[in-house]
């Protein structure tokens, strides 16, 4: 349902907040296990409870945080992790450009705090509900509970993760692999998704086997993007 222009300002903020909370609740329930898994895997990778919670609280971007954990090693591949996390989060640019236009009427402090909490579900829900002006009440009704949930469940997972002696025993080491596979499968409706995934996987495995980490992912990602560019047709970009 799309509201007419300006309707957000007529909506009572408290009521909008509760409606945001209602819309985000199923997503919060679904993300509880991932917060716990993130915290537990972080603990296995040697992150302290503080580092774990700090990363969830300051970065607040689930998939990219799993990427960071996956590449976390000693010595720390600082630039590899930074570049790959930012690459995974590049989509936030597009969300920010699209949704930011509908938040331009907010006071600056509210706007920059709100954009700091921008995630996939926040974008999807707010974009769908408001055609012109996003209600701040609704937006914070989505984002604040999601944020608190992510940070708290990370902490729980980090405490719990130190108690698991050998994660391979329960296949916990495979959870991240399966998580990424499911995320990748979710992109299948995008143009040329199959070619992107095949190019990326082939180059990544080849570089991994011949040169070893950490450059396999940069090369694989570049190959996937190159495949997308090579296959682009004029007029098909609107998809």
């Amino acid at each position: 349902m799309l509201d007419p222009p300006g309707s957000a300002s007529r909506e009572a903020p408290q009521r909008a907040f509760l409606e945001g909370l209602r819309d985000i609740t199923p997503i919060i329930i679904a993300t509880i296990p991932f917060g716990i898994i993130f915290g537990a895997l972080g603990a296995q990778q040697g992150l302290t409870l503080n580092e774990n919670v700090l990363m969830s609280g300051l970065v607040f971007a689930g998939a990219s945080q799993f990427v960071a954990l996956e590449l976390w090693a000693h010595p720390l591949p600082f630039w590899s992790i930074l570049l790959s996390v930012l690459a995974v989060n590049l989509r936030l640019v597009l969300y920010s450009a699209a949704l930011g236009r509908k938040m331009a009427h907010w006071p600056p402090l509210q706007l920059y705090a709100g954009l700091g909490l921008l995630t996939d579900p926040a974008y999807a829900l707010a974009e769908r509900r408001y055609a012109e002006r996003v209600s701040a009440g609704y937006y914070f009704g989505i984002t604040v509970p999601l944020y608190v949930n992510w940070v708290v469940t990370t902490g729980i997972g980090a405490i719990f993760g130190n108690l698991i002696p050998d994660p391979a025993l329960f296949g916990l080491d495979f959870v991240v692999t399966a998580y990424f596979i499911h995320m990748i499968a979710g992109f299948r409706s995008r143009p040329n998704a199959g070619a992107v995934v095949l190019a990326s996987a082939a180059v990544s495995v080849a570089i991994y086997l011949s040169f070893g980490p950490p450059w396999h992912f940069a090369a694989g990602a570049a190959a996937g993007m190159a495949a997308a560019v090579a296959l682009v047709r004029p007029g098909s970009a609107a998809a």
Binding site: A30, G171, F174, V176, I184, S200, S204, M225, A227
Partner: protein, 101 residues
């Protein structure tokens, strides 16, 4: 630099960089018009390309159990929500390892 300091610096850099993507590009991109189709295609491909590049060696250069479980997970992901696919994928890897694969 000690490990602890470097870890904290990295987390700070990740946070600042991600926040920059969330706000900075609102300032820049909202003033630009449409992007070149090739740039748009490349940006659109980034998440799938990066995640595939990271996961492919974990799936296909680790062992037979992981490779089979990865394929099972991919098939399950086409039909099931994330938790269902995870349970099937992890269950497969545990069963195959127990079977000695």
């Amino acid at each position: 630099l000690s490990d602890v300091v470097e870890g904290l610096l990295l987390i700070a850099a990740l946070a600042i960089g991600t926040y920059g993507l969330r706000i900075g590009c609102h300032l820049v991109l909202s003033r630009l018009g449409r992007l070149d189709p090739r740039v748009e295609a490349a940006l659109d491909a980034v998440p799938a390309a990066v995640m595939t590049a990271i996961v492919a060696p974990l799936a296909f250069a680790t062992g037979a159990a992981e490779a089979v479980a990865a394929i099972v997970t991919a098939i399950a992901s086409l039909r099931l929500p994330i938790l269902g696919a995870l349970v099937i994928g992890v269950g497969t890897v545990v069963a195959l390892r127990a079977a000695g694969l």
